[in-house]
């Protein structure tokens, strides 16, 4: 594999020129003839009974084409647990509950119409603290479940319980133990492009749905079910993506606004677009939820981990989306980060009247890693062992099978930790307690797909046109991470073409084969594997054509030369050099015999073969086309939450140096090193881009970002008050790529979409402790928290 021509090269992003020059068609630019604009009216209370809704004035506003409430559409339940309806009729359970919607000829008129809708509410007691909501006498957020059976508690019927070994026994046998309570905040995914969609029915009620989803087939299935439930049976649905401005978890589930858009399109018989404002993006799009952890760990006198016990409480908000399933990924670091034989984990998701939650980059991993890595530093200190050494002693090894059943294949965690130690000058800077400090944290994440659905597969279809362009039809999506470039490199390598020959079509259910979605850092690995396999098939087909046509072409050419020049002496050619596909290779568009790569007569540009192959006369011939549906050999989690759900796992470590102002409590990051096991970097500069971006989101998670909820209402729904880092807050990030090609990866690659975010916040917290001796266990680490903790310590 050392002889790669395109993989491993820093090829500039292919699809991005249109984005930076304003040509790309994002949701805003996607326009249809006669398109209307939809707007949604949200609840004014966190919990209330709707006494009446009057839409008359809104309907009479010139330019308004439809006003709908829960009484105008079928009362159909949607969502993961079917615990909500599209428009709410009787009860609202959160501030973002959708009460009515308008379609009008301009967004401004639609907005104006919302103000004319009169809703009378009767406020009900609401509950915002999951601990309070868990109490037996707490008011119920839902009186019944989706089937109408009475509920007795706000605790979701999702028993996230995991046990391996004997934690109790291990605790008794431990030389040292440490217990910590840690909290992580609500945060918003902050996509640059806000949410939106366009729904359009044809005269037979077939639906064309332009959506930002990164799970196009999952979205299609959910919409199909919804249409069926509202009485539209057997309708064709095509889901397409526009250019998408980031996903970070927000495009996994089908959101309520998408169903509303479909209803407005159905009602008006016109294409309808809904586009969120930034305020809506903060208030009405599910964020990453807050989580509280209690973690206890122990080790023996040599520092080997003996057990880990974790309990988590997750604020689910009022309804259930993928937020409630994040424990399936929290499992990952809790059961398998470092070698730990005895593990117990329990997560409780609780309904409250806060806004409901969903996925974000890293899923449950960043939250759980904050708990695990905070505890690791605490336990190392208790045991009197250097925190880096402690991690090294307990590190994972290739060939390990973890308590959860994860099969570790390649694992260069040791190199990651060593690189971080060296670059951050660990030995020189650690333990000074002089206001400057260094800290570290590690990570494990799925890097070979993640079997969360029955299939974790991706289909790729490759066709080669007569002049030698390579069209790739992918069932997956691109949300700006650079997939078109990476897949082009892989296809070019596998087929023998050049990356610039490759044209990729993403995000269209009518063209692509099935795909489980661009999530869980799985795209490069799973789609890449499918692309390699399909590419090799294509190459084989071309070489078969070459065996057939190169001799003919050479002979014809020699004949012509002879004709032109009677003195021409025909060379003695050894045609056995090219008499079978195995004897030929195709690289960089050139076909040549392996035994004589520079053969003056046999070396042939691929385009010539393709043209000859297609233009052979009447009857059936061969077009060069291949397709592969590839599903990684993995397992779904069983009832005990065990199973090897990814084909391979990525490791990494982050090191941070901070300076803390003891008088103001401000934390300044002087250096951040993020070292990642990527298997093989298909495109190193894109890999670094993923690491930088994720590290910045990690720094925001660690220091500044939080959605502030006051009695269920988001009070900082804008970028002035939601403190995402700006360009001026640039911190020096050094991304270190550790390459240890994975046998299962495409050219050895592992996924790298999420890992960079995971260890950043705990590394910062650990560095703050090293600087000032105060451990902040509640993210984000604001100046207020640092100063309060320092004052408490000084008494």
């Amino acid at each position: 594999m050392d002889n790669l021509l395109h993989v491993g090269k820093n090829i500039p992003r292919t699809a991005e020129t249109d984005k930076v020059t304003g040509r790309a068609v994002y949701m805003d630019e996607y326009k249809r003839p006669g398109m209307l604009h939809g707007k949604i009216l949200y609840s004014r209370y966190a919990h209330a009974r709707i006494k009446s809704i009057n839409t008359e004035k809104a309907k009479n506003l010139p330019g308004v084409r439809a006003v709908i409430t829960g009484y105008d559409i079928p009362d159909v339940r949607v969502g993961f647990l079917g615990d909500q309806t599209v428009l709410k009729r009787d009860l609202v359970r959160q501030f973002r509950d959708e009460v009515a919607a308008v379609a009008a000829i301009t967004p401004e008129i639609a907005e104006e119409a919302l103000k004319l809708i009169e809703v009378e509410y009767e406020p009900l007691p609401a509950i915002f603290d999951p601990l309070e909501a868990m109490k037996p006498d707490a008011p119920l957020v839902h009186e019944t479940d989706a089937r109408g059976r009475p509920l007795r508690s706000n605790i979701l019927p999702l028993p996230w319980k995991f046990n391996a070994g004997d934690v109790e026994k291990a605790r008794q046998e431990s030389a040292y133990t440490a217990t910590d309570s840690v909290n992580t905040p609500w945060i918003n995914q902050c996509c640059m492009g806000t949410s939106g969609c366009v729904a359009e029915f044809d005269s037979n009620n077939n639906l064309m749905f332009c959506s930002q989803t990164n799970v196009i087939f999952g979205a299609k299935q959910r919409i199909q079910t919804y249409l069926l439930n509202i009485g539209l049976k057997g309708k064709k649905i095509r889901v397409i993506n526009p250019t998408v401005g980031g996903s970070f978890g927000t495009k996994l589930d089908t959101d309520i606004y998408e169903f509303i858009c479909i209803q407005l399109a159905l009602k008006t018989r016109k294409p309808v677009r809904i586009r969120f404002t930034r305020e809506e993006e903060f208030m009405a799009l599910p964020p990453r939820q807050t989580a509280r952890f209690t973690i206890e760990q122990g080790c023996d006198k040599n520092g080997l981990l003996t057990f880990r016990k974790v309990e988590a409480i997750l604020d689910n908000g009022a309804y259930t989306s993928w937020g409630a399933t994040t424990p399936s990924v929290m499992m990952l670091p809790i059961s398998s980060m470092y070698r730990v034989p005895n593990v117990s984990f329990q997560a409780t998701c609780v309904y409250t009247n806060n806004i409901y939650s969903q996925a974000m980059r890293g899923y449950g991993n960043p939250q759980a890693a904050f708990a695990v890595e905070t505890s690791m530093d605490h336990l190392a200190e208790t045991a009197g062992i250097d925190a880096a050494e402690f991690r090294m002693i307990n590190r994972n090894h290739p060939g390990d099978v973890t308590p959860m059943g994860l099969k570790i294949t390649t694992c260069p965690l040791e190199q990651c930790i060593t690189a971080v130690k060296e670059k951050i000058k660990w030995d020189e800077k650690r333990g000074k307690r002089n206001g400057r400090g260094v800290g570290m944290a590690s990570l494990i994440h799925v890097a070979g797909g993640a079997r969360v659905y029955l299939s974790d597969g991706t289909g790729i279809r490759i066709k080669v046109n007569e002049s030698g362009e390579v069209d790739v039809l992918s069932g997956s999506t691109d949300q700006g991470q650079g997939s078109p470039t990476v897949i082009a490199q892989i296809v070019a390598e596998a087929t023998g073409f050049k990356p610039e020959d490759v044209n990729i079509v993403f995000g269209d259910t009518a063209l692509g084969l099935w795909d489980a979605g661009t999530h869980a850092s799985r795209h490069t690995f799973v789609a890449g594997n499918a692309a390699v396999r399909a590419g090799e098939k294509v190459k084989q087909q071309i070489l078969e054509l070459a065996v057939q046509y190169i001799p003919k072409m050479v002979k014809r050419s020699l004949k012509q030369q002879k004709k032109k020049n009677p003195d021409f002496v025909e060379p003695e050619l050894d045609y056995t050099l090219i008499d079978s596909p195995e004897k030929l290779d195709l690289r960089n568009r050139m076909i040549f015999p392996k035994a004589a790569p520079d053969h003056p007569h046999f070396k042939t540009e691929v385009g010539k073969i393709l043209t000859s192959g297609l233009h052979v006369g009447t009857g059936e011939s061969k077009a060069v086309v291949a397709e592969v549906f590839w599903d990684p050999p993995t397992e779904m989690l069983n009832a005990e939450m065990k199973g090897n759900y990814s084909c391979t796992y990525a490791f990494g470590a982050a090191g941070v140096e901070v300076e803390v102002d003891r008088q103001t409590g401000e934390v300044k990051i002087l250096k951040l090193v993020s070292a990642h096991d990527v298997g093989r970097a298909i495109n190193p500069s894109l890999v670094k881009g993923q690491i930088y971006g994720a590290a910045y989101i990690g720094v925001g998670y660690g220091l500044t970002e939080r959605v502030q909820l006051v009695d269920g209402k988001v009070v900082n729904p804008n970028f002035r008050d939601y403190k995402i880092l700006t360009a001026n807050d640039a911190i020096p990030v050094e991304a270190v790529i550790i390459e240890d090609p994975d046998p299962a990866g495409p050219y050895g690659a592992k996924g790298i979409g999420e890992p960079g975010l995971v260890p950043t916040a705990p590394a910062i917290a650990n560095a703050v402790y090293d600087a000032i001796g105060v451990r902040i266990k509640d993210l984000p680490i604001t100046p207020e928290k640092v100063l309060a903790a320092l004052k408490a310590k000084e008494g």
Binding site: E108, Q663, T664, G665, T704, Q708, V710, V715, N716, F719, R720, D721, K723, L725, T726, A727, N728, D729, T782, P783, E784, L787
Partner: protein, 324 residues
């Protein structure tokens, strides 16, 4: 968002005339506050009278102190060498507002008329004894800035009047000033608190030797020790605080208490305590009251010290990020 007529007068006189004749009209300069308020539907003007094309509002006059036109942008102030050296607090604040894009259009007059408790340039103008120049149908008048702020978003402007400029007195070469914006990030942020200080010190005999200490960027206590050793005395001090009251306020008791005293670490700490006692911060989503009060204690001393640094080493000290 409501619809409005946009008017583009070329002179102040024309602007005042328009304001008088139009219904429900509002002045707009850079628009970085007005447009936000219109979008939030907190303002619904039928007419906007733009001050952008009025060239007589754009001047920086450095004869006998400093005279500034209300239409001068924050960028123009932050990048002006004279202001950076002689009225450093104002340059500090102008350079810390919003982002570069906002500073390129947002004007000084607009920032002051919006009168947010957090307005960055308000504290420097308070410590620099600025006067506001106002024009209207009743004619021109000048108001000391301390009398100009009446409360949150409330200023001493009569109907139709506009701010045309600022007059700042010459402060002498033994004076330095500084503004510290304490925020959660480096751009697009409002201060948790803002502190401006202006200090005039008495330097007996020749040039202060302690400048080396500032220039070397020594440890803060060492630097103060040098000041104390040289018995440097505060001749006059101004302190102003933002976000700790309904409007930007002076810490007048602290100013009185520091006058005539020898600079020392203990004194700076005391002054911080007094200033904190004069503040009335509250809890908000942007910061907690106790923390704001603590920061008044810490940052008052730092702002004064940064001001002194600019006197004893004016050439080296023009960069606001140089000290602590």
């Amino acid at each position: 968002m409501s619809n409005y007529e946009y008017h583009k007068p070329q002179t102040v006189k024309e602007a005042i005339g328009l304001m008088e004749s139009l219904e429900n009209a509002k002045y707009i300069a850079g628009g970085t506050d007005v447009i936000v308020l219109v979008k939030q539907e907190k303002l619904a003007p039928a007419n906007l009278v733009s001050l952008r094309n009025i060239s007589e509002l754009v001047y920086i006059d450095t004869k006998d102190g400093l005279k500034l036109g209300a239409g001068v942008t924050h960028s123009a102030i932050a990048n002006n060498e004279f202001i950076r050296k002689r009225y450093s607090a104002l340059a500090d604040a102008a350079g810390a507002v919003g982002s570069k894009q906002i500073r390129n259009v947002a004007t000084m007059g607009g920032n002051i008329c919006n009168a947010a408790p957090s307005a960055d340039t308000a504290c420097p103008l308070l410590v620099l004894d600025a006067k506001i120049v106002i024009d209207g149908k009743a004619g021109k008048r000048e108001v000391p800035i301390d009398d100009f702020f009446l409360g949150p978003n409330k200023v001493a402007l009569n109907a139709g009047e506009l701010v045309t400029g600022f007059v700042l007195p010459d402060l002498g070469s033994n004076t330095g000033s500084a503004y510290i914006k304490h925020a959660r990030r480096q751009a697009m942020d409002l201060p948790i608190i803002g502190i401006a200080a202006r200090a005039a010190i008495k330097i007996d005999g020749n040039e202060a030797v302690c400048r080396d200490s500032f220039v070397a960027g020594n440890d803060i206590s060492q630097t103060i020790k040098r000041l104390e050793d040289e018995r440097l005395v505060f001749e006059d001090v101004r302190i102003a605080m933002g976000v700790v009251a309904p409007r930007p306020v002076r810490a007048k008791k602290a100013e009185e208490a520091i006058k005539g005293k020898i600079i020392s670490e203990k004194l700076l700490k005391e002054i911080g305590e007094i200033a904190a006692s004069e503040s009335q911060p509250r809890d908000s989503i942007r910061g907690e009251a106790w923390y704001r009060r603590e920061m008044v204690k810490v940052l008052t001393g730092r702002a004064i010290l940064r001001s002194i640094g600019r006197i004893v080493g004016p050439e080296q000290m023009t960069n606001p990020n140089r000290l602590w």
